[in-house]
Symmetry: C2
Subunit: 95 residues, 2 copies
């Protein structure tokens, strides 16, 4: 029992950790220090985790990853928008 609870606390922390990042990004609309490669790869990975959870009928994996995607899809959108609007920082596309 104790071990399962640790897993749920861990999942809750790594999932809801992203909420303050989303709120900060929405408020400041500045994504300069956030890596494009990070947000795109991370969001792609979360999507694959969701597919994995669905295929395995694993509800905790499904729930945690839907929640995570609710935070990371908008963060990724804000980052891509930021890169496209700041033509000066095209080097971003490779970092």
């Amino acid at each position: 029992m104790g071990i399962t609870i640790i897993g749920y606390i861990a999942g809750t922390l790594t999932t809801f950790a992203s909420l303050p990042q989303l709120l900060k990004s929405l408020k400041e609309r500045n994504m300069e220090n956030i890596s494009l490669a990070f947000v795109v790869t991370f969001t792609t990975g979360l999507t694959l985790w969701l597919i994995y959870g669905i295929l395995r009928n694993d509800y905790p994996i499904i729930v945690f990853n839907i929640l995570s995607l609710m935070f990371w899809i908008p963060i990724t959108y804000l980052k891509i928008k930021d890169v496209l609007e700041n033509k000066g920082s095209k080097s971003e596309l490779i970092t």
Copy 2:
């Protein structure tokens, strides 16, 4: 078999996604747009995932979370250093 491979690809993506973020943060030494609450909570969650993996003897969870911590402990260190050095942004401590 196919499903397990999806899990490994998902884990590889969500883990190594953080490498370009670490490299960017090390290069630019500017963490302004990254939320303190995010990095601290995320790193704490990863540590709990590692403990969970050890208690369950689950090697993929152990390996992925050790790798993630190798990226997120330095990112968290850089962020805390940034907040402490920029006394002007004390509001960061709550966002």
